[in-house]
């Protein structure tokens, strides 16, 4: 933290005490430092070296705790020192409408807290998680001179990066083992590989430590780590098997027949598989119970992906449709005709700007499409790719890699605002091209929190460098790259305790905690047979015109007044009458009725006189209001 603060720029020099300090004083103050003898520098001060360059003693400090430093706290007090000096946080103006004093103060407090937390989070992100300098860490070239990032080769990158990073590029050559599948753990520390002919290995790729290596001698279609590197699931010829870190077979999941694709939902502890028969199966790995199996009725799927932000499973089918599934529905949430051929690659963007919103699909028709999860109607953009695509993957920073025959192409900024113009119709410029001569990338995975792309192909796997692809700032409470044994044990227990119920998997992730706006009762009969008193609170408010949404719909004050005046009963929504002013009054109605009968009697005359008097007084009042006549205010005013 201190290091970043220091590198963000020097603090304004402190003035010594006293308001009348001038520049001379200031100079004296500085000179104390340059001599550097009188005062011992603290860890937060910048010291000037003899040669004039500045060093910061705090640059080498280690993050000691996770609490937000007090300097980041937005104090809401008048005397408090707000870090940005911004205006006082005020609650939303809509809270003023609440009549109940206590509820109002409670809600406004909640609102202020939320706003404050948001501000603090933004501050922390700005100070802690922004790159010290430059952009997001991707390759920059001089576009004007005609340099292109996609012309840069792996070897160029390896030569130019630090030794530490260049070591991360490696190839594991395995001949005649079939095509390889790869998978990373959530913290990106461990890698699992599985060849189609049954060679399986898991290892800590950073330390170069092999955990297990097995030759199964039967076809393997997929491999997935479960919640930690301790367990991994392998989709074998007939069933799914679970192995532990040492490669010991722990479980045979007999219910998963002929599996082709697997996904693991880490927060729900659900292993999801789909097989040739097209049954989507959810298996709870913490209890060992099969949760549900859903027939997709669309045959053997060609691809599968999970949305890591909503735990929705995406399946790509041979007829060109993509379907979105959760264990709670036997029908897909969304069914989408994405391609004119089998959908063979799906990837969901987990990056900050997208948070599971953007989905990329690729089909046998050679097209890559980007979809917006908020509106599935039309793709955001699509382009043709020359080689036959086999798989897609998104990186932590939102780079899309498209793997296919003889190479991989990496794109960036596919959905950023600068691209939301007619240019979207064109093929995006690739960020990097990673050729694999005479090989097909059967499986590609970006390593979480690293700038690494792992590719599985016919001759083993390759770990390639893609600068700027990984999320640089991990959170040790979520996925710790440097996880120790004790912390992993702690996390294992905590995560199981926080296991989310599968019922909470929803397409709309913000679903929980909102007001249930059911209209009360399934049928029209049920809803309308209840008296006003028996209705739910929201319904009663709606009828009384006091619910917020209703108020927005109200057009003018007149109608509101009218509604308030009427006593509403019987649960039926009162029809809003559009009356013309002055026509519907009881007096005039009475007069009209009488006059129709053409009988003139005393009551009618009295009524007429009354109406006329009313009219006149109304007239004078209006005239006084408009200033047409001046109201008499003297002693004679009482005489009219």
């Amino acid at each position: 933290m201190d290091a970043l603060l220091a590198s963000a720029g020097p603090l304004p020099t402190k003035r010594p005490k006293g308001n009348n300090s001038n520049s001379n004083n200031n100079n004296n103050f500085k000179s104390n430092y340059s001599k550097g003898q009188r005062q011992r520098p603290t860890s937060h001060q910048t010291i000037t070296r003899g040669d004039g360059s500045n060093i910061d003693a705090s640059l080498n400090s280690i993050l000691s705790n996770t609490r937000i430093p007090s300097s980041f706290h937005h104090s809401n007090l008048a005397s408090g020192s707000g870090s940005t000096g911004s205006a006082k946080i005020r609650p939303d103006s809509s809270t003023n409408k609440i009549v109940d004093k206590k509820l109002r103060s409670k809600l406004s407090r909640v609102d202020i807290n939320n706003k404050q937390a948001k501000l603090e989070r933004e501050d922390v992100n700005e100070w802690l998680n922004k790159a010290v300098q430059g952009t997001k860490g991707d390759i920059e070239v001089d576009e004007e001179l005609g340099e292109k990032t996609w012309r840069i080769k792996q070897n160029d990158i390896v030569e130019n990066v630090a030794v530490n990073s260049s070591k991360k590029k490696f190839d594991l050559k395995m001949n005649d083992m079939g095509t390889y599948k790869v998978d990373y753990t959530k913290n990106g520390r461990h890698l699992a590989i599985a060849s189609s002919k049954g060679h399986i290995a898991t290892f800590d790729w950073q330390a170069g430590k092999l955990h297990s290596e097995i030759h199964l001698k039967e076809s393997v279609r997929d491999i997935k780590f479960l919640h930690s590197e301790d367990y991994f699931a392998v989709a074998q010829k007939k069933y799914v098997f679970i192995y532990d870190k040492d490669g010991v077979e722990l479980h045979k999941l007999k219910q998963h027949i002929d599996p082709t694709h697997m996904e693991f939902l880490p927060y729900h502890y659900l292993l999801t598989t789909v097989g040739h028969a097209g049954y989507l199966k959810y298996h709870d790995t913490s209890t060992g119970v099969m949760l549900t199996q859903i027939p997709t009725h669309l045959g053997s799927p060609h691809s599968m992906a999970q949305n890591s932000h909503s735990a929705i499973i995406h399946l790509g089918h041979s007829n060109g449709t993509m379907t979105l599934w959760s264990p709670n529905m036997t029908t897909p949430h969304v069914k989408l005709l994405a391609h004119r051929g089998p959908v063979n690659g799906i990837a969901v963007d987990p990056s900050e700007s997208s948070a599971g919103r953007y989905v990329a699909t690729s089909g046998m028709d050679g097209v890559v499409k980007i979809w917006d999860g908020r509106m599935w109607g039309k793709e955001l953009r699509s382009w043709h790719v020359r080689n036959q695509i086999t798989s897609l993957n998104y990186s932590g920073m939102g780079m899309l890699s498209v793997g296919g025959k003889s190479g991989i192409t990496v794109y960036r900024d596919l959905t950023s605002t600068t691209n939301s113009n007619p240019k979207n119709q064109f093929t995006p410029t690739p960020y990097l091209t990673l050729p694999l001569p005479s090989l097909t990338a059967s499986s590609i995975k970006f390593c979480p929190f690293e700038d690494i792309l792992a590719v599985g192909h016919e001759k083993g796997i390759s770990s390639l460098l893609v600068p700027g692809s990984g999320e640089p700032n991990f959170d040790s409470n979520e996925a710790d790259v440097f996880e120790t044994y004790s912390r992993r044990r702690e996390r294992d227990v905590r995560n199981v305790m926080d296991k989310i119920k599968p019922e909470l998997i929803t397409l709309n992730t913000d679903f929980l905690g909102h007001v249930n706006e059911s209209r009360g009762g399934e049928t029209h009969e049920e809803r309308n047979s209840r008296s006003f008193r028996q209705l739910g609170r929201l319904e009663r408010l709606r009828i009384n015109g006091k619910s917020d949404e209703q108020q927005a719909e109200l057009e003018d004050d007149e109608e509101e007044e009218q509604e308030d005046g009427e006593q509403i009963q019987g649960g039926k929504k009162e029809k809003v009458k559009r009356k013309m002013k002055g026509k519907g009054g009881s007096t005039s109605r009475y007069l009209r009725k009488k006059q129709k009968k053409n009988i003139v009697d005393n009551t009618l005359l009295a009524m007429k006189a009354k109406v006329a008097a009313q009219k006149q007084s109304e007239d004078t009042r209006r005239k006084i209001a408009s200033g047409e006549i001046v109201k008499e205010v003297g002693a004679l005013a009482r005489f009219g």
Partner: protein
């Protein structure tokens, strides 16, 4: 390229904590709401799992216990008055009777209160007989166990006395907990009791209780239904067919208070805690009456739909008063506006016999004829918790202890029961870490308490079958009555009879 130095991410020594890196960006924390919800579910389940409110039952009464006398200045002492005229002073810390007075009164004990004097050595207890029409003041050293020399301790338990040696006695004066016993009233033979003074010679204690004579006795023609002591002064008030104010040192009442010429039987009387000269009473004519002893007059009175069995003044809000009504409800009134109660508390299925505020005035407890105790928040009309036991019979009086940790109930079966005021609270010391996690869990529950899953666990209470059925029946009856009223209104002329708010129904008339 991302390149991380191991120095930044590995602990500097084997004992140093693992360095943590935080990134608060939401995309790294998916499922924030469901995870928090899951934690809230766990928290609320833990809360219910540890909900064991019953602490102990204090026996010893030969008949049912019909009134409790809480000593407002001491934590661990309470007196129970039985139906046979027996008064027992219980120690809550020892969970044993300190003193038994078998024939304090002939017939039922109407009420018990404690004198307000700070001198602990002469602590006095005032009991009133319901049938024999006497009031007796009892003074005994046993009320302040552990105090050895007769005249040493002057000053209350929170401030030291005015003598130096009284400082030494502060610890063993039985101020907070009772930790010493000396039953040798007259002769001091110097024997140390085995077990640090916790052992008790029961026979000796009983003999002492039998021989104890009241220091003061007042007689009246009428029996006394209730008694309450002034907060500081040496006066107390009684409820018979009038409200009488007595001085501890005089044998005749200082004044007799009455609303007009009403001859109703007053059942309970209570002094206000802040505005100490104001008192209120409830009577058999379904009334609640306010008096001021400065003017010596009854100020105003309300007549309600049903009779109130008990009342209690809020210790922190001087104008707030709680009435325990026979119609199964409790009502809080703001005495500035007696037209309608400020809140109705529904939940009991029997007449509410007793109620008492917690010292903070945020919560209160009520005991009912339906054999349950309920705890309430002042602000919500539904009870926060309900306590019951198989052996507990009709509850006639309840009280909060002055520390607000416990609730006491006196019931028909002759027991005074101790309950925790917060059912799942841990007794005993709580470490900082534990407290933090408890607070975190509470906050989680609070945040998600509107959500159905959490709410259903939080609010679900198992009640005995009889109460469950009675609740159901009552709900059905009220519902059908209301539906009938709705229908009648639907079929009568529009606007003829408007629905009346429940709060407007309770008070029939306010008299001045």
């Amino acid at each position: 390229m991302i390149s991380r130095s191991l120095d930044d991410h590995l602990p500097s020594s084997s004992t140093a904590p693992h360095p943590l890196q935080r990134n608060l960006a939401p995309h790294l924390h998916p499922f924030q709401k469901p995870r928090e919800y899951t934690r809230a579910m766990t928290a609320v389940k833990i809360d219910r799992m540890f909900a064991k409110p019953f602490v102990d039952a204090l026996g010893g009464h030969q008949d049912g216990v019909y009134c409790l006398g809480k000593d407002p200045r001491r934590v661990a002492v309470v007196a129970g008055g039985g139906g046979d005229g027996e008064v027992i002073v219980h120690s809550l810390a020892l969970r044993r009777p300190l003193l038994k007075i078998p024939n304090a009164h002939k017939g039922m004990v109407g009420g018990i209160c404690w004198t307000s004097e700070a001198k602990d050595g002469k602590r006095g207890m005032i009991t009133a007989g319901k049938l024999d029409g006497t009031i007796k003041i009892w003074r005994s050293k046993l009320f302040a166990p552990g105090l050895k020399d007769d005249e040493s301790f002057i000053g209350n338990e929170f401030a030291s006395g005015n003598r130096l040696e009284s400082m030494d006695n502060l610890d063993n004066a039985g101020a907070i907990g009772e930790n010493g016993f000396d039953l040798n009233e007259n002769e001091d033979d110097g024997d140390e009791e085995v077990g640090g003074g916790l052992t008790m010679d029961f026979k000796k204690r009983d003999r002492l209780g039998e021989n104890l004579e009241p220091t003061m006795t007042y007689t009246s023609k009428n029996g006394f239904n209730g008694i309450d002591h002034h907060r500081q002064d040496n006066i107390f008030s009684t409820a018979s067919n009038t409200v009488q104010i007595w001085d501890e040192n005089r044998s005749n009442p200082l004044s007799t208070l009455q609303f007009g010429n009403s001859l109703e039987t007053v059942t309970k009387v209570k002094f206000n805690q802040s505005e100490t000269s104001v008192l209120a009473s409830v009577g058999n004519d379904r009334t609640m009456c306010l008096y001021d002893i400065r003017t010596g007059k009854a100020e105003r009175r309300i007549v309600m739909q049903f009779l109130s069995n008990d009342l209690s003044w809020c210790p922190t809000l001087p104008t707030t008063m709680l009435l325990a009504s026979e119609d199964h409800n409790l009502y809080t009134f703001d005495i500035r506006n007696l037209n309608s109660p400020s809140q109705i508390y529904k939940g009991h299925v029997g007449g509410v016999m007793g109620c008492d505020w917690s010292p903070t005035g945020e919560e209160f407890v009520s005991g009912s004829y339906d054999r349950t105790i309920r705890l309430w928040n002042r602000e919500s009309g539904k009870s926060r918790d309900v306590y019951h036991t198989k052996r507990m019979q009709r509850v006639f009086d309840v009280t909060y202890t002055p520390t607000a940790d416990f609730v006491l109930s006196a019931s028909d079966d002759g027991n005074v029961r101790i309950w925790k005021s917060n059912a799942s609270k841990k007794l005993g010391p709580v470490s900082t870490k534990e407290r933090q996690s408890i607070e975190h869990r509470q906050k989680l529950i609070e945040r998600y308490s509107a959500e159905k899953g959490v709410r259903s666990v939080k609010e679900r209470r198992h009640v005995p079958q009889s109460i469950h059925n009675a609740t159901k029946l009552k709900r059905e009856m009220i519902e059908s009555r209301k539906v009938k009223e709705d229908r009648r209104r639907d079929h009568s002329r529009k606007g003829r009879d408007k629905p009346k708010a429940e709060r407007k129904k309770t008070v029939i008339v306010e008299q001045k």
